[in-house]
Subunit: 334 residues, 2 copies
């Protein structure tokens, strides 16, 4: 007998979800009032992101734990990309009335564990529960700059080293694998091919379903003098192109450096094409002055040059950005 949120009601569901969450260090007042109250040191950074069943994920692929993990990880990475320390998350969760309460508990648990592992001290301070035709999760992440200047997309200077930290292309390879299975006549609506896929490609699947971006490296990159930084969510080519345009420079990527640094990740061979077009790794793309030793975790992948006709090149040839546009890309079968 599976208990649904409609049977338990809002108050009961809230109680079970809150039981899965640990308090944030910065929380003066946590969940349960009109607002949470959060202590902030220096200017605040804030980002928000929504994951919706269908366009953003498929319930048959993710466990609730993985979904909660990914929700936390993808938002924390935006905070890290400003050179800030994550302090607090909010979670607005809306689900169909027949959704098992256990799924919401697992989402909360996944968020909690991901936050504890990727950004110790941060935590969920508040949220909202409601109903929706499909699982809908909106997360807002807050962070503090502690007196440092934020690292934006606009500060890259010609001569800077282009560097990257984190997985690169693995999450996109995972999505491709899942898409291929989704087109399989066996069908994936019930998740049947997943156990086999997970066994055959554990690293790639995990990178897509529960990514582990290098949140802890954001503050260090800022302290080391990063001139510009962003997290790579849509794809390296799309996001590098954005950063180049925002900074008024061009980015010259080097295929040999990409291969040397990221051609083999955790035992998986990753082609340069996957690095350039795969999204959702949420690693950090950062520019550093050429005379700065790259902080641990960052590897060089190119250099910054003056603005040119092509804002982005690979081995000297113009590179057309390609990856994810939520309003244009269509999922197989969608």
């Amino acid at each position: 007998m599976v208990l649904s949120v409609g049977e338990l009601g809002e108050r009961g569901v809230l109680k079970r979800v809150l039981a899965r969450l640990e308090a944030a260090d910065a929380a003066v007042i946590g969940p349960g009032d009109d607002c949470a109250v959060v202590r902030v040191d220096g200017d605040l950074v804030v980002t928000t992101d929504t994951m919706i069943e269908g366009p953003d994920f498929r319930a048959a692929w993710h466990s609730g734990f993985e979904l909660g993990w990914k929700l936390a990880a993808t938002n924390l990475s935006d905070v890290a990309a400003m050179g800030a320390q994550p302090t607090a998350l909010t979670l607005a969760l809306a689900v169909p009335r027949d959704t098992p309460v256990a799924l919401l508990e697992e989402i909360a648990r996944g968020m909690n564990v991901a936050t504890r592992e990727l950004a110790p001290g941060c935590g969920v301070v508040g949220g909202d529960l409601g109903t929706a035709p499909v699982i809908t999760a909106a997360v807002t992440a807050l962070g503090q700059l502690a007196g440092q200047a934020p690292v934006t997309r606009t500060g890259a200077l010609p001569g800077d080293t282009v560097a990257y930290a984190g997985d690169l292309g693995l999450a996109g390879m995972g999505l491709s694998l899942l898409f291929a299975e989704a087109a399989d006549p066996d069908g994936t609506a019930d998740g049947r091919p997943l156990p086999r896929l997970r066994e055959a490609h554990p690293v790639i699947l995990a990178a897509q379903l529960a990514p582990t971006p290098p949140i802890g490296l954001g503050v260090g990159a800022a302290r080391a003098g990063a001139t510009a930084m962003m997290d790579v969510s849509d794809s390296l080519s799309i996001d590098a192109d954005r950063l180049a345009r925002a900074s008024g420079v061009s980015l010259e990527l080097d295929a040999a450096l990409l291969t040397a640094g990221f051609g083999a990740q955790r035992g998986v061979a990753v082609p340069v094409s996957a690095m350039l077009t795969g999204g959702e790794d949420h690693g950090l793309l950062a520019m550093f002055p050429a005379d700065v030793a790259l902080p641990a975790g960052f590897l060089p992948i190119g250099r910054v040059a003056a603005a040119a006709e092509a804002p982005l090149t690979l081995d000297g040839a113009a590179l057309t950005p390609s990856g994810w546009d939520p309003y244009v890309v269509r999922w197989p079968g969608a």
Copy 2:
């Protein structure tokens, strides 16, 4: 020829939405980077809320402008209810690919105008665009306490005056009218009965579709010494019951005071039953020490007594909370 978001693509839609938004005073860095950067004076308050087409609103009822207005108003009121000053909003908006771009522009314009009118200086600092099977909007509101202590739900003391500011019951009457029309065989999916309804009941409809909570009174209530405060979103009876339980007191509401203060609102006769069970007005329910003159805008509706078997009474009789539970209430036809 109506341009859809799928035809225009994310970058183009984002540009049009941003064009409708004015900068927040506190924004050090506004939309366009991984995070916004916001200056905060004192501890931060944060709240989040989602409005989803179907469970939370019907697209045929609200104009885009009204929807954006309501999104801002309902979140700003949670900030006000802590005694804080709203400083910044984020908006995560996900819509079907065939949604007209103009609707998103109108939502942004409504948020902008509501914020300017209800909380001058506050503004949208960032957000996220995506796709969803139905219109899905998640707003997070930030506010600052500027050295004051937050006013929570837990501080009410026996002897305090129970006071209320804002509309009370009007928004619920509006929802009832709309529900009644939704059950009309004429049908409402295309919004046909709306022009007639709006003409016959302009105040009631506006209270439901684009409420005007007294955001500016929150900081003043805190300064005047409010011991406990919350915004009334689900209904006066539900939220007063919550506050009583959180404070460990009982709240004794007085029907004569309710009628004297709120029996006629902007030319509309409002029965006490509507005041007690109607939600979504987002007015401020606040407790003040008996020797404090109520700040302008607040009217007395009862008094706080020691904890009793019934946390909430009306004219001495136990009052059962009734109003809105998102997981239990079903809309007509849903």
